[in-house]
């Protein structure tokens, strides 16, 4: 009883500062989400799903401060031709953004369409999130649906000529931002979405992705810079027949990052790849929590997560593949690996498979290790100094995850960030 009460008190305290939007097409979804949230409550340390990551600072009312880090490194993706859409501390910045019109896609701001009674996003907003609440509750996603202040409704109907780039800048050391995006990809349509930037002192982001039969979506995300920032993000994706969804996330720095991905393969022959690479130092804490459901025949899913940890950094991976009855010919692959650059860092992994079909191929592996001494000596014996050799082997370790990015120019850009990060710490 005491436990439940404490949880209710903490949840209600957090909710006090929010006003529920009561008009427009999203009102009912928001009200439902609030009710959901009240039923499940915000997580505390005793939650099994939050066993490896302390949710306290995400729950607490006051935003933990995060100073704004400034260096002259060119922001990631800057060199690429893209449609720039900027959110400053979670608020759309029209002056810094491009015009939102681009052939093959319609992009609208949540705030601009808030008063409409009918909108296509009504069928998805909070809907995929709600589906993703079972079997495991994800309270921060419900909080997001209820109280998101901004976000984009992206409707991909063709093949836009350039990536849609969401840039999250951070300027206030106590900003607390909640963004909710909905993306619908129609049949035969294909788009690339980029996301980057520290976003806010505390950032709660939810992205709902619905891909129709034969649609394709690529998502490349770079979370970085400001070390004191905290983020909890949710990605809910539903895939139709022969559709493809490929997501990659690079994370550098951050005292707390929890990236949850909930993917449903609902149409036959669909492909979902979700990958991540992170590098962290000191009080860096990074959590990838993934839940993939195979509910159709002949689908392929890949999870590739690599973490480089040093000076006491912590990495978490909770990954599950659920193969439902009848989801025959499923090809599921899951790998989570950490490279511990010293004895103080730790990697906590919970890989899971749950299979109810009999003709499937699923594999999972999780490892933790140090730099290969034999390879290190081999490189040094060829004249490569120890630090450079260590960095080269570290990049090699991350390669399997980075290779999941199809666009080579984008991959190169992210590799450069990794090289810079490693160089700064050599």
């Amino acid at each position: 009883m005491a436990l439940a009460e404490r949880r209710i008190t903490a949840t209600e305290a957090r909710l006090e500062g929010f006003d529920l939007v009561k008009t427009g097409w999203s009102a009912s979804a928001r009200a439902d989400a609030l009710q959901r949230l009240r039923e499940m409550g915000l997580p505390d340390r005793r939650d099994e799903y939050w066993k490896f990551t302390r949710p306290d600072t995400l729950v607490q009312v006051e935003t933990p401060k995060a100073s704004v880090f400034d260096n002259d490194e060119q922001p990631v993706f800057d060199a690429h031709d893209r449609l720039r859409i900027v959110f400053a501390d979670g608020v759309f910045d029209p002056d810094a953004s491009d015009d939102l019109s681009l052939e093959g896609v319609s992009i609208e701001r949540l705030e601009d369409i808030a008063d409409k009674d009918i909108h296509w996003a009504k069928d998805l907003y909070g809907v995929l999130e709600k589906r993703g609440q079972s079997p495991v509750p994800r309270p921060f996603a419900a909080l997001n649906t209820a109280f998101a202040t901004d976000g984009l409704m992206i409707h991909v109907t063709g093949k836009p000529s350039k990536p849609i780039s969401l840039i999250y800048t951070h300027g206030k050391e106590d900003s607390d931002a909640i963004l909710h995006h909905v993306i619908r990809v129609e049949a035969e349509a294909e788009a690339t979405i980029l996301e980057n930037g520290p976003a806010a002192a505390r950032f709660n982001k939810c992205m709902e992705v619905d891909i129709a039969d034969t649609g394709k979506l690529h998502l490349v995300r770079a979370q970085g810079r400001d070390h004191e920032r905290r983020a909890v993000t949710h990605l809910f994706a539903r895939l139709g027949e022969e559709s493809v969804f490929k997501a990659f996330t690079l994370t550098v720095n951050g005292v707390l990052t929890r990236n949850e991905a909930v993917i449903e393969l609902n149409g036959d022959d669909a492909i979902a790849h979700i990958a991540g690479a992170c590098v962290g130092d000191g009080d860096f804490h990074h959590d990838d929590t993934v839940f993939i459901t195979h509910d159709a025949v002949n689908c392929e899913s890949r999870q590739v997560f690599k973490k480089v940890l040093r000076n006491g950094a912590t990495g978490v991976f909770q990954g599950k593949i659920l193969v439902k009855e009848g989801a025959q010919k499923t090809d599921g692959y899951q790998i989570s690996q950490s490279l511990l650059l010293d004895g103080d860092s730790q990697f906590l992994a919970k890989p899971e498979l749950e299979i109810y079909a009999d003709d499937v191929a699923c594999s999972h592996g999780s490892t933790s290790g140090a730099i290969d001494e034999g390879a290190l000596f081999y490189l040094r014996s060829r004249g490569v100094p120890e630090k450079a050799a260590t960095n080269l082997l570290t990049l090699a370790f991350l390669a399997e995850a980075v290779q999941e990015i199809e666009d080579e120019a984008l991959a190169e850009d992210l590799i450069e960030r990794l090289e810079n990060w490693l160089a700064r710490r050599s």
Partner: protein, 251 residues
């Protein structure tokens, strides 16, 4: 070129003496071979010279052109001109062979205060050298030694040697795991690198490699010491009579 004096080495982990006073001098332009039974300390000598962890030098010295090798980190020894062709070349998944070669070449150039080689010149050079060793373009793209056959790995060692142009090359049982054709290819690669300014130390169990890489001097090593030195005929003697006669003779 290489001057080893009274070198005593023990394993760091256990109190076991492996080298018990090795004296060896390899002159520029010469090929010296070390032969000896298993466990005589041949490979330990190559590891100690290249700076591998796990060994403790308790006495003696090893100089390369007047520079004390034992004071240097492995990468500094490489930059000073030492090269070890590994008995078991290491596989490095995720690092392309080309990247590996360019990183190594440029790291050594940098350490010597020379200008780094640009990508175009490097590519030209590596392609030419690879061709001589019958290493195809595909092998250059693959991760270092990953999925290479025994012969390919050893040819890759020789390619690295050709690219790095060391002053002193140590070949640690380069013939192990090779068939006759592969051995000939490797030996041809090594012979092409023989020059007045370069010394070689060829460590081997068998005479057969020395049919292809003709040594100037042959040493017999046993129980951590060089017990006999002579001309190429010494290798033939081992081939015909085994080590027993020589060992008995010395004792």
């Amino acid at each position: 070129m290489l001057e080893i004096k009274n070198l005593h080495v023990k394993l760091e982990e256990e109190d076991k003496q492996i080298l018990k006073g090795v004296d060896l001098s390899v002159e520029a332009g010469k090929v010296h071979a070390i032969m000896g039974p298993n466990g005589s300390g041949k490979s330990t000598l190559s590891y100690v010279l290249s700076g591998r962890d796990g060994y403790e030098v308790t006495e003696g010295s090893a100089m390369l052109e007047g520079q004390d090798l034992l004071d240097l980190e492995p990468e500094e020894r490489a930059a000073a001109g030492l090269f070890l062709a590994f008995q078991y070349p290491v596989e490095i998944p995720g690092v392309g062979n080309m990247t590996f070669l360019r990183t190594a070449v440029n790291a050594q150039r940098k350490a010597r205060g020379e200008e780094e080689m640009n990508a175009t010149d490097f590519l030209k050079l590596v392609r030419a050298r690879a061709k001589e060793l019958k290493i195809d373009a595909e092998m250059l793209k693959r991760p270092v030694n990953v999925g290479f056959s025994g012969g390919e790995k050893k040819r890759n060692e020789v390619l690295q040697m050709a690219m790095l142009e060391p002053k002193m090359c140590i070949l640690d049982e380069t013939d192990s795991g090779l068939d006759v054709d592969a051995m000939k290819l490797v030996a041809d690669g090594v012979n092409a690198l023989r020059s007045e300014g370069r010394g070689f130390l060829v460590i081997t169990h068998y005479q057969r490699l020395l049919d292809h890489i003709k040594p100037d001097v042959v040493h017999i090593m046993s129980d951590g010491r060089i017990i006999k030195s002579g001309g190429p005929e010494l290798a033939l003697e081992v081939e015909h009579n085994g080590y027993a006669d020589i060992l008995n003779e010395v004792v």
